[in-house]
Point group: C2
Chain length 259, copies 2
Amino acid sequence: MAENVPAGAPVTACLLIIGNEILSGRTQDKNLAFIGQGLNDLGIRLMEVRVIPDIEAVIVDTLNDVRRRFDYVFTTGGIGPTHDDITADCVAKAFGLPLIVNPEARAILEAHYEPGQLTEARLRMARTPEGATLIENPVSKAPGFQVGNVFVMAGIPNIMQAMFASLKHGLVGGQPLRSRTLRVEMGESFVADGLARLQERFPAIEIGSYPYTRNGAFGTRLVLRATDEALLDAAGVELESLVADLGAASAWEATPAGG
Amino acid sequence: MAENVPAGAPVTACLLIIGNEILSGRTQDKNLAFIGQGLNDLGIRLMEVRVIPDIEAVIVDTLNDVRRRFDYVFTTGGIGPTHDDITADCVAKAFGLPLIVNPEARAILEAHYEPGQLTEARLRMARTPEGATLIENPVSKAPGFQVGNVFVMAGIPNIMQAMFASLKHGLVGGQPLRSRTLRVEMGESFVADGLARLQERFPAIEIGSYPYTRNGAFGTRLVLRATDEALLDAAGVELESLVADLGAASAWEATPAGG
């Protein structure tokens, strides 16, 4: 748990994306990037993502592996009303807790549906492991939940985003990673040697090189990431001069949050 | 390896997406869905995806875990010319093989660049574990490679897709999973009970329910997946009548390959 992390150690997280439809390529995941950025803003580093199928044994084993190795675990998918929504069952099994119809969740659904409309299928969405804390869902009411360091969210992006907004105030992070991005109009192989030397001089900075092509021309985004703004500024000056010496046009880019 | 799979057992695959930029949310992955669909067309099921950072120990340990558990492992990312491209080094370590400048890869790069332009940084892209088989890259020449059941590809989508086209003829798959998709104009909770009964009657079919909203109205895509077309047709008839009995409008959708 985050509370036990020594001062200065990065706070870590793992995301489990649960669903056959992601693995088959039918559905393009849109949650990873949002969660990665959102966690980084809180000073929590997303260290691993696993996409796994709707198979109970796989979900239970994966949960038990990653909840011990990371400070926080987030899951998306598998908490709807249909037979293939088995995430709540799996979290209960992983923690060795009984699966119950959560009274608070039931009350939320009863208030939401017309009298008589809370069918058995819909009541599935009130099931949580015993003792779970609910995560509010302002979009469609059926809540997510938290057990220990595991946060269970919906897979539908706008609902997941609303749940993440509900839960994030309870997370304890460290220092957010800041970044600077220099877009350079040359292929990355030209700048590779200088970049390796810069990395040696600034071991506390994570230096990334991300090539792109635009209208057939090669370009590279050079990204500096660290928690220390002054260090980033110092490395940024050197990076700019390194690129200028190579005769390439470059420009600093606005960096998206978490980038 | 696929050759040792008992007849009828599904052929399985794992994808490792390597790169800090995916975990931070800076870059949206576009390779998972393409590979999931491409493998399914070959009768190979993508069973797990892991997104991991550019950290040698993590990459080596993950490779050694998944290459033993799945018939095929595919990796994307980390084979460019810069210091943060460490995938070749990690694959060599995982297999306990020396990392060499591959003579065939070197010849490809020498033929591609003008004399004197094959810099040390670019020569990094010719490094493979000893004994690796190259994967052709018709886009930008620097090849991917295969060692055992591990296929190492670039992260840039158009290059990855070209490499996948080069390597796929060498993969041995089973029966492709076929699917039928019925789009229903009602929330999934209405159809949930009938769907659970249908699933009980057709245990060999994977039945998925994927809600969506359009113009504020709830709808659901009901997906049947199996290798047996006749079985899918039979279940399709029952699904259509189940939905009609509920009074909902529905329509069969063209299904993307692999969906």
